[in-house]
Amino acid sequence: MLKIKNLYSSINNTLIIKNLNLKINNGEIHILMGPNGSGKSTLSYIITGKPKYKINKGKIIFCKKIINTLSPDKISKLGIFLSFQNPIEIDGITMFNFFKNIKKKNNLKKIYKLCKILNIDKKDLYRFFNLGFSGGEKKKNEILQMLILKPKFIILDEIDSGLDIDTIKLLFKIIKHYLKNNPKCSLLIITHNTNIIKYIIPNRVHIIYNGSIILSGNSELIYRIEKNGYYSLIKKKHNDK
């Protein structure tokens, strides 16, 4: 589904992603981990076409199409969805109006159903978009958008940060249910939390450091990270080389 080949990208002439290779097949769940400032979130921005980031070299291929030069709205229409770490707040536009702008076919009944699943109050639909929402409510709103858009490829950027256990369980339950109904849909989770393995079992786990993927393996890699930390694994890799 998604292939990244020899990717080099930069902001303001400083290289951030260096020779990154990644392949995610249909229906696979991947987890991307790494120390702070290693380039996890920037990778998600580059995939979704944020114009600040310049692709110097390499290709991003999604469903056999090169999406290097596409604008973010065209990429999202191809079926890539990114749930943001810090979603924006929009004053003056209600949640329901925002959903209408995303998809014109949206019915109130449909959205009410989805709200029930996510434990979102119906009255919140008539509040301004994310304005005065708590961190958990904002993340729930992101998942609600995901369910409305029905994407083929989902990127969750630190979906579990700042959430209590019950809401994490609920969100992952919904995500799992969505993946069951759409078996071709694949998922990329960006997190720091090693406890994520309790809620979802990945096919592959990758460690990113200094803008390139250094290690990748099965779900066991998460346990190794929890035991030894990132830097010891990175040192070992360097020594082996």
Partner: protein, 358 residues
């Protein structure tokens, strides 16, 4: 922000005043209004200006200046139970040739009268260029309210000079919505004088200008008494080689207390040729008051646009949503539905042709 939902939707009772080529033509008052309101009007001519007019007319190329007089309108609420209900004052201007309209109006609102003022302009011919020179004095007596909407629809050939002076007594409200989308030249000179305690005034203005549109906005608020509340919100979106000068001065005089005054100017520049000059002033001569003023000039928030685009919304639509979300702080979408359509159209005009990213 004050919610005026009930005002525009449910206003049945009206006073229509018609000006043809700058001359007062007729006044029409709703039948039921006469029962509950005491409405008087008369014209007062100015002899001196007549002589000036003669001199100007002697020159062949001089523009026509409409006859000069002051229309004095007095409205009094007879019935106490009608308190809190607005009536509508429509000022209709129809022009058949290019001229300078001199319109002097003195409006006196007696106790507990609520008024919503709206201006409408119509040009019979398309090639007309009109300069409106307003001189509007409004005198608000106890517990009376005025909401004044200044907006000209899709008309490039009108430019206005507004001189508005307001005198406020106890427990009065004055709210002005000044929306300028298409005017070539717009000059506003607004003076608000508080004549006693507990006066409230809001001035909300939106300017979306392109080409060579120019706006001058001068404001003076005199807080002579205590417990007064004045707030001004100003949002400007500028494109091409448009110009604007904004100067707001709030005076808080000696021996007053608990006054609240606030000025906020937000401006977005979409091209390099735009000229803006902003000067918010505060003259404070007492303690125990709340006063602040702020000016922002900047570009569109890029992350905001990226977020909307990542949800499949097109670039220019995302920009429009961005501006509408900011304009909402001044005007409620539900109350001014027709107005928002025009604002959207104007934004489309500006943003469609733009090549700059976000």
């Amino acid at each position: 922000m004050i919610n005026n939902k009930f005002i525009i939707n449910n206003l049945k009772y009206y006073i229509n005043i018609l000006f043809f080529n700058g001359l007062f033509l007729k006044i029409k008052i709703h039948k039921k209004l006469k029962k509950f309101y005491n409405i008087k009007y008369y014209l007062k001519k100015k002899k001196k200006i007549k002589n000036i007019k003669k001199k100007i007319n002697s020159k062949a190329l001089s523009p026509f200046i409409s006859n000069l007089y002051t229309l004095i309108l007095y409205i009094k609420n007879k019935n106490i139970y009608l308190y809190n209900k607005y009536i509508k004052l429509n000022l209709n201007f129809i022009n058949s040739f290019s001229l300078i309209n001199n319109i002097n109006i003195l409006l006196i609102l007696d106790n507990r009268t609520f008024l919503f003022i709206k201006e409408t302009f119509k040009n019979i011919k398309s090639n007309i260029y009109i300069i409106n020179n307003f001189f509007f004095k409004i005198y608000l007596k106890k517990k009376s309210n005025v909401i004044y909407l200044k907006y000209k629809k899709n008309n490039f050939s009108i430019s206005t000079i507004n001189n508005i002076i307001i005198y406020q007594k106890k427990f009065t409200k004055f709210i002005l919505y000044d929306i300028n989308l298409y005017e070539k030249f717009n000059y506003n000179n607004i003076i608000i004088n508080n004549l006693s305690n507990y006066c409230l005034s809001r001035i909300n203005s939106i300017i979306i200008s392109s080409n060579t549109q120019t706006t001058n906005f001068y404001l003076l608020i005199n807080n002579n008494y205590s417990y007064c509340n004045n707030k001004q919100y100003y949002i400007g979106i500028y494109d091409d080689s448009s110009k604007s000068i904004l100067k707001g001065l709030i005076n808080v005089k000696k021996n007053t207390k608990n006054n609240i005054s606030y000025q906020n100017y937000k401006n977005f520049i979409l091209s390099n040729k735009v000229y803006i000059n902003l000067k918010p002033y505060l003259n404070i001569y007492t303690n125990n008051i709340k006063c602040s003023h702020g000016v922002n000039i900047g570009k569109i928030n890029k992350f905001f646009i990226y977020y909307l685009q990542s949800r499949g919304i097109k670039l220019y639509k995302a920009k429009i949503l961005f501006f509408l979300s900011i304009l909402y702080k001044i005007i409620n979408i539900k109350t001014f539905k027709c107005l928002f359509k025009d604002i959207k159209n104007k934004l489309k005009l500006i943003l469609n042709k733009k090549k700059f990213y976000v």
